[in-house]
Point group: C2
């Protein structure tokens, strides 16, 4: 099952995952008349995500005070960021719904991502939940220096240069799982239709950043102010 590639381990009780992808439009109810859909699971997933990120930041940034840790966590679990995570994994593909997928707003991606975390917690407990969050959120996306804005983005640098030099550029991203346990993304960075760099990572963002960095060093003489 494809979900196994996304999670990196096998589900035990598939029922939780079915629920995590059931939209309220199906109007499903259990025997007691309780609604069956992913909305309650979002609540649970959000709480687990916040806890795991809190513990990561606590250990990772021993010099950060309470205010700093709170601010950094907000950046990581922002709606925008969660939507990006859910969209990259194409979770919407698994949704069970009575309404057309086009009608969903952008938040559906983040909501499904949170619900999936909730399902993992119910299915396999905190330890697997933490493992999933490390593999799908922290390792691919959480770069403290970049969140702080103290490190520049190579993608930003590259785009700036292309615009200044009036060069066409494109990032072609595709899923490239290969034999890996986890789903991966590959990217080809083209400038003026020539592939100048390739990269592969567990998130689109990271793959793009990696390719940009490679291109940056390859083109360094051209990019640096003369």
């Amino acid at each position: 099952m494809e979900l196994t590639k996304i999670m990196g381990f096998k589900p035990r009780n598939i029922g939780y995952y079915k629920k995590a992808f059931t939209h309220r439009s199906l109007n499903k109810k259990d025997e007691e008349g309780n609604a069956i859909n992913f909305e309650r699971m979002e609540f649970l997933g959000d709480a687990m995500l916040s806890a795991v990120i809190a513990s990561h930041l606590f250990k990772e940034v021993p010099g950060g005070n309470e205010g700093y840790l709170t601010k950094m966590r907000s950046k990581i679990v922002s709606r925008k960021h969660l939507n990006e995570l859910g969209r990259d994994l194409n979770l919407i593909k698994y949704i069970q719904t009575n309404i057309s997928k086009d009608q969903f707003g952008v938040n559906i991606h983040g909501n499904l991502f949170e619900a999936l975390i909730g399902a993992i917690y119910l299915d396999r407990g905190y330890r697997y939940c933490k493992k999933f969050i490390y593999e799908r959120v922290i390792e691919p996306y959480v770069d403290i220096e970049q969140l702080e804005g103290t490190v520049i983005s190579y993608k930003g640098l590259l785009i700036e240069w292309c615009q200044k030099e009036k060069k066409n550029f494109s990032y072609e991203v595709y899923e490239d799982t290969g034999i890996d346990e986890l789903k991966h993304f590959a990217v080809k960075l083209r400038i003026e239709d020539r592939v100048v760099a390739k990269a592969r990572a567990t998130s689109k963002k990271k793959a793009e950043e990696k390719a940009s960095k490679r291109a940056y060093y390859a083109l360094q003489n051209k990019i640096e102010p003369s």
Copy 2:
């Protein structure tokens, strides 16, 4: 050590607990110059508390939607409630500080309670953290029906009756741990200087409520509208 009675298990690394009771006024720093005090641990404890309460509510109230679960959690982890929990356990007794304990505001109790949860997480992981929260928050304090306001408080009923009947009453609460693994509280409820009920529980609130309920049934004929 007394902390063992509060937690119900032995600490492994006492260093975490020392930190959880170190006030910033001591101005302690580690070798890298990072501040050593309980403020960062509050952040961690708060996150763990929120996660455990979320999971409890999720399982306990299958009919509650996201909004309901969020509201109930806010009630449970409210500042007022956390202060009550920390004060009942007399955590302030363990604080290491350079300023006088009288100078602390009421929030010190809740802050220490959160920091203690953070220390437990670091020392023994999520499982013990959850166990502690069940024993010290959920079992003694979390009564969903009472939180919803759908069940009346026996203490409230009793006080109302005493006031109407112009009777003096008092709740005498004291720590009464005995041979239990966990710290307990005992209460004597006096009306007109006569002990009308006694009770014992893991929180002051629960002990008072238990004694009130016993007194309520003992005095039922007098309390119910004639």
